[in-house]
């Protein structure tokens, strides 16, 4: 399984802070984004960044591994 976390305004629009996506061989970051965007379109309107296992990722073609932790994030507003 792939664990997907949501925080702040994205979590509010998704309605939960965590989701599971079934891992498939050859799966890429963009595949998970497409799948979740179709399910939660309002949340993904504000998604600007993605992280895989706690690291910023800009290349959406990044191959995923079983057990990866993904986060789709809106612009930060700390400080």
């Amino acid at each position: 399984m792939i664990k997907v976390l949501f925080f702040g305004p994205v979590a509010e629009r998704v309605g939960t802070s965590e989701a599971q996506v079934t891992f498939k061989a050859g799966m890429r970051l963009q595949d998970v984004r497409d799948q979740l965007q179709a399910k939660y379109p309002a949340a993904f309107e504000i998604v600007c960044f993605a992280a895989v296992n706690g690291e910023h990722v800009r290349d959406m073609s990044l191959p995923l591994k079983e057990g990866s932790e993904l986060v789709f994030m809106s612009k930060f507003s700390g400080g």
Partner: protein
């Protein structure tokens, strides 16, 4: 002694943080600090409380990297970053940044650089609570 980089719910003491910073070196000729506070007014509305959500593990890792980057970039002797999460009432402290260097210029420059970078790099989100309801904050450039 407390860690130099922390995410915490409770308030912090700038006196304790500065004392911890100074304890590391007697060569420190300049210390610059920044404290971000919760305003009671924003976008034309009264704000009673701010609630912070964070991707904790990544936020802490990014804050540690930010401190290390600042130390290297500005040749600091030490630096500290503390950010609160959870509920912060209007008027309370949110974030503390300190930079200690041999001279004032790098300390001042590093302090501003760290808070600017923190806003760009650290996954923390704020929600303002007002008498009219709650709203997540959209960042300004």
């Amino acid at each position: 002694m407390k860690e130099a980089v922390r995410l915490q719910q409770e308030d912090f003491s700038q006196d304790e943080e500065i004392a911890a910073l100074r304890a590391g070196s007697k060569r420190m000729g300049g210390i610059a600090t920044f404290i971000g506070c919760a305003r009671d007014f924003s976008e034309g509305r009264e704000v009673t409380q701010i609630s912070f959500d964070a991707y904790g593990s990544m936020a802490l890792a990014e804050m540690n990297k930010l401190r290390e980057d600042a130390i290297a970039k500005f040749a600091l002797l030490d630096a500290r970053i503390v950010h609160r999460v959870g509920a912060v009432r209007a008027g309370e402290q949110i974030v503390f940044i300190a930079a200690g260097a041999e001279h004032r210029a790098p300390a001042l420059q590093a302090c501003q650089w760290m808070i600017d970078e923190l806003k760009q790099r650290v996954p923390i989100w704020k929600k303002e609570l007002t008498p009219e309801g709650e709203a997540w904050v959209t960042p300004h450039p």
